[in-house]
Symmetry: C2
Subunit: 327 residues, 2 copies
Amino acid sequence: MKFSTEELIEGIQSGNKRLIGKAITLVESTKPEHRIQAEELLKKILPFTGKSIRIGITGVPGAGKSTFIENFGRLAISKGKKVAVLAIDPSSAINKGSILGDKTRMEELAKEENAFIRPSPSSGFLGGVANTTFETMMICEAAGYDYILIETVGVGQSEVLVSDITDVFLFLKIIGGGDELQGIKRGIMEMVDVVFINKVDKDNLQKAKNTRLELKRALDFIPSKEKDWKVPVLLGSALYNEGLEEIYNKIDEFISLKKKTERFDLVRKQQSEKRFEYWVQEYILSMMKRDESLEEAYLQHKKNASALVSNPSTEAKLFVEKFLNKD
Amino acid sequence: MKFSTEELIEGIQSGNKRLIGKAITLVESTKPEHRIQAEELLKKILPFTGKSIRIGITGVPGAGKSTFIENFGRLAISKGKKVAVLAIDPSSAINKGSILGDKTRMEELAKEENAFIRPSPSSGFLGGVANTTFETMMICEAAGYDYILIETVGVGQSEVLVSDITDVFLFLKIIGGGDELQGIKRGIMEMVDVVFINKVDKDNLQKAKNTRLELKRALDFIPSKEKDWKVPVLLGSALYNEGLEEIYNKIDEFISLKKKTERFDLVRKQQSEKRFEYWVQEYILSMMKRDESLEEAYLQHKKNASALVSNPSTEAKLFVEKFLNKD
């Protein structure tokens, strides 16, 4: 990293988008020397973090997430807020082009002075690189963004990741789609705080109302994450700015409730504990991987595993014991 | 475990389903004393493993996976084969009841002498307990099962897990569902070896043919995993035993091709290497978790993280350094 930690922090605090981007690239890196600088940076910006509202947004491809984020983001900006958009993309490299690579996405929002859009780091199918969205969010918060919108594609594990770092979880739904998605919906339904049925117009209004009824019925069977909060199902059209004000207010209401019941801080604390556990895993594995004195043993055990000298788990156990018992 | 390793092995090799079940419970356990016995067991049965055809089966809820497995399994049994069915269920505890808990599932197959059905261990949403499906499969192979059918729900990460331990990956599709699932389909399409469009009848035959055409077009854009293999898209009805013989033959054909090109053994070797890497992670983390001398430090760093004394990743780094540097 050719920028010093001080330069990066100054850039973050003065809202320099280029340097914010560089700082994010730094915390995304898994290189040991970058991790040291990243920890230094995160430590120093910590007092300036935590003040945003962290919003997770999910929905299947085609639900209109980009349009929603674009127009919701502009609405928030019109109310004097600063908005950052991050994405968690669980799709493979091949998918990426078609799902998230569209260069015209959020064009209008991107032009706004008070908006910052960061695509997700390239990675394999769910994982491969460390998930640093939380740390990216910290940087955006230190840069003064009031709303952090974290987008994800609706396919399971990524929702859990997003739910674990946000204050409110929004589910974008389109009408129809039938029963095929029931399983996925169920998984999401347990995490969701607000539902928005998107792409509603005069012609499909009745269908939308039916979908709302179905969703409400489904939600009745699921214990709400927050006491005294009945997950609202709103109708609208992100493209035509219909229903966005209502969503904005619902989010506000939800955050106020969470703060009143002290769940807001409590949940954030629990999330920090999970982050700690996540990073313990990341660090221990990276320490092991870069211990050169172990490389030969690692390769030998791996070879034994692939040649079925013994089974993979036995070879792994032998290797780990070596790693932990060496001087 | 009240059975000795010898008793379990004898039970496995004599095809005693109760003892096969006990052995699977043993390898699923994360308790240290169970892991030791599990490794011992796996080591001893290793020479008797590897001889089955390992089939991964995916599809959204409602695609008819259970019915497919039931009737495909019975077809294989009618050809003199022994069939084991395992499930990877990525859904949460709440989902479980509705997706996989149906007690009438595979009733007919379960009655067969030459079938063994094992539901997935209870776990959280993708993870929580170690994924031991591979080790469960080893036990089934040692017990002489010729076909291992591994079922999963179509939501991302679980497909990767299944694809990483099987020889052939089968995708069950139903007609319609629209564009909503495109993103998920793309992810799956890169892994799939054979596609079966299920629930086809006289009335929807034309629609099914259109879906096949669309799928074939989509597949044309995706490089096949196996050279000289064009992913076939077959139509049929698992419920009425239509198309199952063709699937059986296609799988046979695919396995023969993989063996001819030596990809069969090569891919299995690569899979064993991945299993090794997976277990290295599992073991190192479990060793850490059960090191009582570290418990206090772990809790203190975690508390620091949640109280934001410093950020979670910094606290994690400090803890891991303590763990690795202690005598």
